[in-house]
């Protein structure tokens, strides 16, 4: 408590720190909300400027941008079906259908509240646990456990209620197969690259994501419009009530834990967190709204988890010096630029700095709630723009988003070809989000599979030595059986 108070006092008593906090919060929200830009873009642009700042203020700036940027991506996911980044994809799955039903304000309100709660609760967990959790995670979660956890996540994705579980499984395996294209993670051999250096580096997941989500949606809606069957979504600014949030308390609690846990695991991060908590919320939801039909529980689960993961990701970064993802890798470079080496010693030797980061993230989560409500009242007005104008603008933003990541025109080809493929697959009833999930986790799954094979000497019996992995595998089997049973009930019912 004393540390928290002194950290907060350190933040509030320094005018430069306040300036960094406010600017990081505003810029993070803006960069996160504009398709084609993200918290990562801002982090990369701001890197040279941080040399002129003290280490405390530079690291505070990056911690706050991280929190604000993750929330910012939810706005475009809900309003236009354009996830700001991969971790906002599950938000689009339920948020966009809510917008189509005239509940854009409600969805954004839920996203703001759950982002703030997920971020704040996980910061509290971060303050309470810190280094011991980092040590446990690194010691207890190896490749075998990671592989089992990914299998569990994949089984959960393929088992969300659907009339056609076969199509879901096909979509999942198709997504996993797309991740194979490029080069193999063991020997670096080119696979299905056909001599192209571009393909050897794999399919760009942002281009694929934007293609499947944004381009497909514009094509489908455009076609409806040309057929004279397009109905603009009704407009409303209807924010969630306290009673509704109270009803979702278990969902928020569960998603915070999932998000925090996934954030702690290096290389897994917020994408798995948001998908896993989304699928869990679909399983336990009692709203009576099917997954993908605009279920508010899905928006809450996804946004709580991806914000909770940001605090979780600080544990391996600060406690052990392991960046869990791209953004935390940039943060690590900020530490290095200022002559600091994150690791066990930073927790004791740079105690004040660490608590400034913790407090900055906590207050950023709280501020998202206040700023987000103001922002939401303005941005939901964008739903009023006619789709004849909005659709083409979305396509141009998606183009910029796909291109700007690697400045490669082939990513734009990927974007539009994925959009057309998604359009056809959607016509035939294949769930695109499941393909995306398979694609995102595919490479991670293959890498941890080959590590598991080597560790267990290619003998699955040796898995008995890994009780945590066995528990995850058991959960995966139960989830699959549960999904198939539910499917049978739906088909026979």
């Amino acid at each position: 408590m004393t540390d928290f108070l002194s950290g907060s006092f350190g933040l509030l008593s320094d005018p430069i720190a306040i300036l960094m906090f406010v600017s990081a919060l505003l810029l993070g929200l803006v960069f996160g909300a504009i398709p084609g830009l993200s918290g990562m873009t801002l982090a990369a642009i701001a890197l040279p400027f941080t040399l002129h700042l003290s280490a405390d203020n530079a690291i505070l700036f990056y911690a706050v941008v991280y929190v604000a940027g993750v929330y910012g991506g939810a706005v475009t996911a809900i309003l236009f079906n354009i996830p700001g980044s991969v971790e906002n994809a599950p938000t689009a799955l339920e948020g966009y259908p809510m917008t189509r039903k005239g509940q854009a304000g409600h969805a954004i309100g839920l996203a703001i509240t759950s982002s703030a709660l997920g971020g704040a609760f996980s910061c509290i967990l971060l303050m309470l646990s810190g280094e011991p959790v980092a040590r446990w995670a690194v010691g207890a979660i190896g490749p075998v456990e990671k592989f089992a956890l990914i299998l569990f996540a994949l089984s959960a994705v393929a088992s969300i209620s659907s009339h056609s579980s076969l199509r879901r499984w096909i979509a999942l395996f198709f997504g996993l197969f797309l991740a194979v294209i490029g080069s193999d993670p063991v020997g670096g051999l080119a696979r299905y690259a056909f001599g192209s250096y571009y393909i050897m580096s794999g399919i760009n997941f942002v281009a694929l994501l934007l293609g499947f989500f944004a381009v497909t949606e514009v094509l489908v809606q455009g076609e409806r419009m040309l057929a004279g069957r397009y109905r603009p979504p009704p407009f409303s600014v209807d924010f969630p009530k306290l009673a509704e949030l109270w009803r979702m308390r278990l969902n928020i609690f569960r998603s915070t834990l999932i998000g925090f846990f996934c954030g702690v695991l290096p290389g897994v991060g917020s994408a798995l967190a948001s998908f896993l908590s989304y699928t869990e919320s679909a399983r336990w939801s009692n709203t009576g709204i099917a997954a993908g039909e605009g279920n508010p529980d899905g928006v809450v689960a996804s946004e709580t988890a991806n914000n909770a993961a940001t605090a979780g990701a600080m544990i391996p970064l600060l406690g052990l010096g392991f960046p869990g993802g791209g953004y935390t890798a940039i943060m690590l470079s900020v530490f290095v630029l200022h002559g600091l080496t994150p690791g066990p010693l930073v927790m004791t030797e740079q105690h004040d700095l660490v608590w400034l980061v913790f407090c900055g993230m906590f207050w950023a989560s709280v501020s998202i709630f206040l700023l987000g409500l103001l922002e939401a009242r303005m941005v939901v007005q964008m739903v009023r723009i006619p789709f004849t104008i909005l659709g083409p603008i979305i396509l141009v933003f998606a183009t910029i988003g796909a291109y700007s990541l690697r400045n490669n025109i082939l990513d734009v080809w990927t974007l539009f070809l994925a959009g057309l493929l998604g359009y056809v697959l959607r016509k035939f009833g294949y769930p695109l989000p499941v393909i995306i999930m398979g694609f995102i986790l595919g490479r991670l799954a293959e890498t941890s599979f080959y590590q598991t094979m080597i560790i267990t000497d290619y003998n699955p019996i040796n898995l008995v030595q890994y009780p945590l992995a066995l528990s995850f595998l058991l959960f995966a089997v139960i989830t699959t059986l549960f999904g198939l049973r539910k499917q049978n009930h739906m088909v026979s019912g």
């Binding site: 504009i34 084609g36 830009l37 259908p97 209620s161 659907s162 009339h163 056609s164 076969l166 199509r167 879901r168 096909i170 395996f173 194979v180 193999d184 063991v186 020997g187 051999l189 080119a190 696979r191 299905y192 094509l219 489908v220 455009g222 076609e223 409806r224 419009m225 040309l226 057929a227 099917a290 993908g292 006619p386 789709f387 004849t388 104008i389 659709g391 083409p392 603008i393 396509l395 141009v396 183009t399 910029i400 291109y403 025109i409 734009v412 080809w413 974007l415 070809l417 959009g419 057309l420 959607r426 016509k427 009833g429 769930p431 499941v434 599979f449 080959y450 094979m453 080597i454 290619y458």
Partner: protein, 156 residues
């Protein structure tokens, strides 16, 4: 099979680079066969629901416009490499908005101009994204245009 040139033994991994894709392809083939022999209703959730068959009739009235809407993005990408992003984006926007059924010329031009200016300020002037600049004469033209945008207002 289906592994082309990457089915080679790896010194550190007995299963090789081809085992994982082969397992996935086998699973896909088996699931495909299951779908053929045990057809399932495909009307799942909203995101996975096949559209009404009337949506998918490219030979129906208005089919030409629909085909154009589907092909225009591909044409846009091809021309982007040739003409450059900044020069091809305004006509692409104008055409697509027109094909989507927006028929008020003044509002159309105003909307595209405002949006285009926003893109230029945000992505060329402020965040320096190196958009494709085309080839040949277009390359020179685009580079001069970008330089002009970035220096505009700096002379003073």
């Amino acid at each position: 099979m289906l592994s082309y040139s990457f089915d080679q033994p790896l010194p550190t991994y007995a299963l090789g680079a081809a085992s994982w894709p082969r397992a996935l392809l086998t699973a896909l083939a088996l699931l495909g066969l299951l779908l053929i022999f045990f057809p399932q209703p495909s009307n799942a959730g909203r995101t996975s629901r096949p559209e009404n068959s009337s949506d998918f009739q490219l030979l129906s009235p208005g089919a030409r416009n629909r085909a154009l809407v589907l092909l225009l993005p591909l044409l846009y990408t091809w021309l982007m490499n040739l003409v450059g992003f900044l020069l091809i984006t305004p006509p692409f926007l104008l055409l697509l908005i027109y094909f989507f059924g927006f028929r008020r010329p003044l509002a159309l031009v105003t909307t595209v101009t405002v949006f285009y200016l926003l893109i230029v300020i945000l992505f060329v002037r402020l965040t320096f994204i190196p958009f494709p600049v085309g080839s040949g004469e277009f390359n020179t033209l685009n580079n001069q245009y970008i330089e002009w945008i970035r220096t505009l207002g700096n002379e003073a």
